[in-house]
Symmetry: C2
Subunit: 414 residues, 2 copies
């Protein structure tokens, strides 16, 4: 057995215990974890200082160093996150359906834990405690593989979590960290079908693509957001500008940020100068099709490469469309089907758009930035699914479970 297989076997044993412990025990254990993160924060901060020093010496850019850095306040945030998840209603053990068959069989469909969840993530060390807490609340053990840059920090966080779990009714092996951070361990993890029930990649497009391409374990694809704001001919220009600016600029590095602006031709002459000006005041670089470049003559032309791209930056592609149908076709062709929005005062146009655009979340008159577990009332999220199987959109604890049929008879045969 390889190290990872041994880890898988231990996780499976832990999952067997998690499957039968009470909701209260899971809550208690997570409270222990939250307390320990605060109590032992100096260990985490020391490990994080070492990671930061190594990363800085290695030439890591400022923005990434900032993601990697922890502080007392950030650790408080991690602990608060664990506490909030601990108090979320238990998603396990719910009777989703219950009925009797004519032959007397009594059928119950009941929510149960997934089992063992693998998570491959990149630099941010708070992901470690967030994901582990979500998995435990949902009754699953997890195997975490974080980025090399945050390794010492992740190790400190998981050590503290494991020791806190040891003082609780749950086994320490509910949370394990892969200590081998070279590429081989990721590949092995993607093929650990005997032990992993699901694999969730959290990170940039490259990581997600690599997992989708190589995994034999079932994957939940998360993240990429090429989100659109379509300004219909019946839009309020003021509302469209406010939504576009918010969706583009309030946090350009996240997946629910808008990347493209489509404007109906009938309103473009009036609306686009206003919206474009407001965006440019916020330092957004516009790139446009020919028609929009007649309004903004100084902007770069947008190519197919632009239409397909998630900039994750203060850049926005702009296109003028002849009709709502053309807007929908553009979105169907280029969207990553994460979140798309129509701004209009016409309810029929809104209904058409929301029916025909095949994305996880389709907005009418609201910023795409609301696609977030916390914002939508689902609690903390483990990621935003952009595939259609299992869960779509933000995945909270309620989406981290499966179900089974429990059938009672008195000797029925077929």
């Amino acid at each position: 057995m390889t190290e990872l297989e041994k880890m898988g076997a231990r996780a499976k044993d832990a999952a067997g215990i998690l499957r039968i412990v009470s909701s209260e025990d899971k809550e208690l254990a997570l409270k222990e974890v939250a307390g320990a993160l605060i109590r032992r924060q100096s260990e985490i901060l020391e490990a994080n200082r070492q990671d930061l020093a190594a990363a800085e010496a290695g030439g890591m850019p400022r923005s990434m160093l900032d993601r990697l850095a922890l502080s007392e306040e950030r650790i408080r945030g991690m602990a608060d996150g664990v506490t909030a998840v601990s108090e979320w209603p238990d998603p396990v053990g719910r009777v989703l359906e219950e009925y009797d068959l004519p032959n007397g069989l009594h059928v119950r469909r009941v929510s149960v834990p997934l089992g063992v969840i693998g998570i491959i993530f990149e630099a941010r060390p708070n992901v470690t405690s967030d994901c582990a807490a979500l998995c435990i609340r949902a009754g699953s053990a997890c195997i975490l593989r974080g980025g090399k840059e945050a390794f010492r920090t992740n190790l400190a966080v998981t050590r503290i979590m494991r020791e806190a779990l040891s003082d609780s009714p749950l086994p320490a092996d509910c949370v394990q960290l892969v200590t081998d951070t070279d590429r081989r361990s990721a590949t092995e993890m993607m093929n650990l079908t005997e032990y992993l029930d699901v694999l969730i990649p959290r990170g940039g497009a490259g990581l997600i693509r690599s997992v989708v391409d190589n995994a034999r374990v079932p994957v939940i694809e998360t993240g990429a957001g090429n989100c659109h704001i379509y300004v219909d001919k019946a839009a309020s220009v003021e509302m469209a500008a406010a939504i576009a600016v918010n969706a583009k600029t309030s946090r350009p590095s996240v997946c629910n940020a808008a990347e493209k602006l489509l404007v109906h031709r009938e309103i473009a002459d009036m609306a686009l100068p206003v919206i474009g000006k407001r965006l440019r005041e916020k330092a957004v670089e516009l790139r446009g099709d020919d028609a929009s470049r007649e309004i903004f003559r100084d902007i770069r032309p947008a190519t197919d490469d632009d239409w397909g791209k998630e900039y994750v930056d203060l850049i926005m592609g702009v296109r003028i469309v002849d009709s709502i149908e053309e807007a929908i076709r553009h979105i169907e062709r280029w969207s990553t089907h994460h979140s798309d929005c129509i701004v209009t005062e016409d309810p029929a146009a809104a209904a058409k758009f929301q029916t025909e655009v095949d994305s996880a979340v389709v907005y009418h008159n609201a910023s795409t930035r609301f696609t977030d577990g916390g914002e939508l009332g689902l609690g903390a999220e483990i990621g935003i699914s952009t595939q259609k199987l299992h869960a779509r959109g933000p995945m909270g604890v309620n989406q981290l479970v499966t179900y089974k049929y429990i059938i009672d008879g008195n000797g029925q045969i077929r």
Copy 2:
């Protein structure tokens, strides 16, 4: 663009229409299809005769020829299946959740079609019409790739279905058959991520393994059933014998047939001679552990290879266990987590078994043969999922959909 990519693009267009047609139109279209299958059955029978002649000349074994062969009666069955699916309540457009957020956003989570479903299957030509009907009822277009042996039959069936669809409000491209039946087309299909939302393999263990290993498109793993009957110390021996015989012998070639018999040591001396005799009277070959071979001295020893195997034949592995815990551990180690059963008069033992055995369907005092969409009241099924993502156990039309969030605001920004 390759042929398959063109097919994918056409399927995506058809899916766009299917997404917005009414429930009545889908029902009407499927009724057209059912009628056409009956009306034009001579074309199907003629194509099937050619397939059979070629298969026989190629030396196909009798049992497989039987699966391949159609008759007027079997075509009637196919048409009746399509009609039954057409009348199933529409799984699309259901509001699964609806709530208002404090900021005034109105959130609806609504069931929507998956989009384009790929199905790779083996010899049985009735799968063609079954799967196509289920996909259409669930609002998805499908791309079917059947076995080489049934190619002419599948072509006739899909041609008739497509022509019937052309006379309906739905486009013919709701159903397409891959006409290139060499291995390359299967591999290409497994990687058609741009067009396929999900891929479902239907067939033997080899096909399923190959799809799981090679697909980048999300897969729903179906089928393999190494199902267990555990006879608890508090079992009714008569009931245990009836269930074991039914689960093993009523149709040994299917995935919900039982493959293993576990008997509690305290009841074994009394129960195993009775159950074993009844099985052997039905021509079942027993293979046993050391303890059960003291009761049946003439049977072959069972090896680890036996414990892990789905025989799909009149063979059954037998093991005597010291406790319910040992039975559960055995099942956790060897089951494919399809369907497992406890026979007992002790409700506490049943509850323990049903909680701790992590399989799609866990029975108490009933045959594993009930794991079937029709039997469980889910309607026709596209397969039985043995993975935990998306759907578990029998998948009917209700499991062939996904959901999206439709959110209405009046200018909310974050």
